[in-house]
C-alpha cells in the first residue's frame, strides 16, 4: 500500500472520480487531504434497498457528543427568569411531579448566570463560557421530551428511538444507509469517556438487527487506541499478509459450504478492515501531527480538558479521512462516584466538573471545523438522555443542592450543515419543567438529522421479524423550522 512518505500522491483516476463525486463542496477538503497524502482510500457502499440520497443532502458526516446522564436545561441553554423569581418557593402544579427518586424539594434558580451571546442573542449560561463564544453557530432545541427518566432505556431511546434494547443506533443506520467514504477506517467510530463506558457499555453502539458490520468500533482517545491491532510479538510483514490471505481463502471455502451467514461475513470483512486499519490507525491517532495552535484550541495538554479535547481532535481527524459517524461520550455509567452528568447531590460540583471537561474542546472543535470549511457539510450534535428538574431533589421544604432526572423538558444542541444558526426553537413552561411549545420527541430529532443527511426517515428501512423497521418507528416529523 502507498504511504504518504514514499509516494507523493498526484491525482490518480480514483481520486479524480472522488473529486467529481463530491463536487466543489468537497474540493477544499480534497485538496487538504491530497496535500497530506491521505487520498488513497476507496468508498464503501451502503446496503439499503432504497439507497439515499432521497433528496439533496446538506450534511455528509456527523459528530455526536452524547452526554451520559441528564444535562440541566435551566442551568445551560433554557433561560428562565421566572425560575429566578420563584427560587425557594414550591412548584405550583395540579399534579405531583413524577421524578426518579420521588423527592420534590423547592424550586432552585439557575446556578450559572445567563447572558445573550453573539449577534444572534442566543441565551447561554456561564456553565459553557467557550460554547457561548460560538453561540452564533448553535441551534438549540429547548422543547425536547423523552419517554423515560431511567438512564439505560433513556440512552437507548436517544440513540435508537426505542426504550428497549435490540434496535440499531443512529450510527449503525447511517452506516447501513450511506456507507463510508473510506475503506481504511470504520464507518461508525465510538470514542468513550476515558473514565469508563456509559451504562450498558457496548450495547450503546449496537447494530441491533442490521448486518453486524454496521456496529460501532471503539477507538480510545488515550492509551492504546485499539487493542490487539498489531501482534503481541512482532511478526514479519510478509507472514502477516500471507496469513490473512490464507485465512480469507479458508473462510471463503467455509462460507461456500454453508451458504450466506451474516456473522461469518461480518467477521471476514472485519479482518479486511483490520488489515487496512493497521496502516490507517497509527496515522489518524497521531495527534502530534497537529500544530500547537490546534492543540491549544482543543485544550490538549491542559486539565481538565485534555481527555475530551483529544477525543474531539481525533474525531475531526477521522471525519477528514472519510469516517461517516463519530460518537463521543461525555461521562460513563451512573452510580457512585459520579463520573457523568448526574447532579443528584450537588449540581454546582457535578455540572461544574463535567462542563469544564468538554466546554472548550467542543467550542474548539466547532471553530476548527468552521475554519477548515468542514462545518458546511458536517453536522455536530450534543445531546443528553433527558434534562433535570427545576426543583431540587430534597425534602419538600428545602432548597437542596441537587436536581433529579426530568424527562418532560430538556435542551439539545445542533450545529453545522443546513441549520438555522443562533436559533432557539421551542419552549418549556415558565420554570423550565415541561416542554410546552413545539414539543420535540426523539423521533422528530432523528427524522431531522436524517433529513439533513439526505435521507427520508420513512424510506430508510430494514425488514426484520415481519416489519419494515425504521429509526423513527412509525413516528417522527422533520422539524422544518430548524432548516436553513
Amino acid at each position: 500500500m502507498k504511504t504518504a512518505e514514499n509516494h507523493p500522491v498526484l491525482l490518480d483516476r480514483r481520486d479524480l472520480f472522488s473529486w467529481v463525486r463530491f463536487g466543489l463542496g468537497g474540493a477544499a477538503l480534497t485538496s487538504l487531504l491530497e496535500r497530506d497524502g491521505l487520498l488513497r482510500a476507496e468508498p464503501v457502499a451502503g446496503e439499503a434497498d432504497d439507497p439515499p440520497p432521497h433528496h439533496m443532502a446538506k450534511a455528509k458526516r456527523v459528530i455526536h457528543i452524547c452526554a451520559a446522564g441528564g444535562v440541566s436545561q435551566v442551568d445551560s441553554f433554557d433561560h428562565k427568569p421566572e425560575l429566578e423569581k420563584l427560587h425557594g418557593k414550591s412548584l405550583v402544579s395540579d399534579e405531583r411531579p413524577d421524578v426518579f427518586f420521588g423527592k420534590i424539594g423547592l424550586l432552585r434558580k439557575n446556578d450559572w448566570q445567563f447572558k445573550q451571546r453573539g449577534e444572534s442573542g442566543l441565551w447561554v449560561s456561564d456553565l459553557f463560557p467557550h460554547l457561548a463564544e460560538v453561540a452564533d453557530e448553535l441551534t438549540v432545541i429547548r422543547s425536547m421530551y423523552a419517554e423515560t427518566s431511567n438512564h439505560t432505556p433513556a440512552t437507548f431511546q436517544e440513540n435508537t428511538g426505542f426504550r428497549l434494547n435490540g434496535f440499531p443506533v443512529l450510527g449503525s443506520w447511517l452506516s447501513f444507509g450511506m456507507g463510508n467514504d473510506t475503506d481504511e477506517l470504520p464507518t461508525f467510530v465510538v470514542i468513550p469517556d476515558t473514565r469508563g463506558f456509559a451504562a450498558g457499555g457496548s450495547i450503546n453502539w449496537s447494530n441491533g438487527f442490521l448486518p453486524a458490520r454496521h456496529q460501532g468500533v471503539v477507538i480510545r482517545s488515550k492509551g492504546t487506541p485499539i487493542d490487539d491491532i498489531f501482534p503481541a510479538t512482532p511478526m514479519k510483514q510478509v507472514t502477516e499478509s500471507a496469513s490473512r490471505e490464507l485465512l480469507a481463502k479458508l473462510n471463503k471455502r467455509h462460507l461456500d459450504r454453508r451458504g450466506q451467514n451474516d456473522v461469518l461475513v461480518a467477521r471476514m470483512k472485519s479482518y479486511q478492515l483490520a488489515a487496512k486499519m493497521q496502516m490507517a490507525v497509527p496515522e489518524v491517532t497521531n495527534l502530534d501531527a497537529e500544530t500547537q495552535a490546534t492543540h491549544n484550541m482543543y485544550g490538549l495538554g491542559e486539565e481538565p480538558t485534555n481527555d475530551f479535547g483529544r477525543g474531539c481532535l481525533l474525531a475531526r481527524r477521522m471525519l477528514e479521512r472519510g469516517v461517516r459517524f463519530v460518537q463521543l461520550f461525555s461521562g460513563g455509567a451512573f452510580g457512585q462516584p459520579r463520573i457523568n452528568w448526574d447532579g443528584h447531590e450537588d449540581m454546582i460540583k457535578n455540572h461544574g466538573r463535567e462542563a469544564a471537561r468538554i466546554d472548550q474542546p467542543i467550542a474548539g472543535l466547532l471553530k476548527d471545523l468552521r475554519q477548515r470549511g468542514m462545518l458546511n457539510d458536517t453536522l455536530v450534535l450534543f445531546t443528553s438522555e433527558f434534562g433535570r428538574t427545576p426543583f431540587t431533589q430534597s425534602n419538600a421544604d428545602v432548597v437542596g443542592k441537587g436536581r433529579d432526572h426530568n424527562q418532560y423538558g430538556f435542551s439539545v444542541l445542533l450545529a453545522g450543515a443546513g441549520l438555522k444558526q443562533g436559533l432557539a426553537f421551542g419552549a418549556t413552561d415558565e420554570v423550565g419543567w415541561k416542554a410546552v411549545e413545539n414539543r420535540v420527541h426523539w423521533h422528530d430529532f432523528h427524522a431531522t438529522v436524517l433529513h439533513l443527511l439526505g435521507i427520508d426517515h420513512e424510506r430508510l428501512t430494514f425488514y426484520h421479524n415481519g416489519i419494515r423497521r425504521r429509526l423513527t418507528n412509525v413516528h417522527g416529523h422533520v422539524i422544518n423550522d430548524l432548516l436553513a
Binding site: 503481541a232 507472514t239 500471507a242 479458508l250 467455509h254
Partner: protein, 75 residues
C-alpha cells in the same frame, strides 16, 4: 489474532502437531486440521496450507487455523 494468548496457543498447538506427526509436512497439515476442525483438509486446502507452512512455519499456520470461522463457530 494478535492477542498474546492467541499467539501462545498457536505455539502450543504447533508443538503438539510436531510431536504427534513428526516432520512430514502433509502429515502435519492433516493433524493440524484434525485437531482444529475434526476433519481432513480437502485437496486445495492441503496444498494452500503446505505451501504456507513451507514459507512461514507451522506456528503461523496454527495461528491462522485458530482464527478461522470454522474453528470459532460451532455449526
Amino acid at each position: 489474532m494478535n492477542n498474546s494468548f492467541v499467539l501462545r496457543t498457536a505455539e502450543r498447538l504447533a508443538s503438539r502437531v510436531q510431536q504427534e506427526s513428526g516432520g512430514d509436512p502433509s502429515r502435519q497439515v492433516d493433524r493440524a486440521f484434525a485437531l482444529a476442525f475434526s476433519r481432513k483438509p480437502d485437496g486445495d486446502e492441503l496444498q494452500w496450507a503446505t505451501q504456507f507452512m513451507h514459507d512461514h512455519g507451522l506456528t503461523a499456520l496454527c495461528r491462522v487455523l485458530l482464527n478461522s470461522n470454522e474453528f470459532l463457530y460451532v455449526d
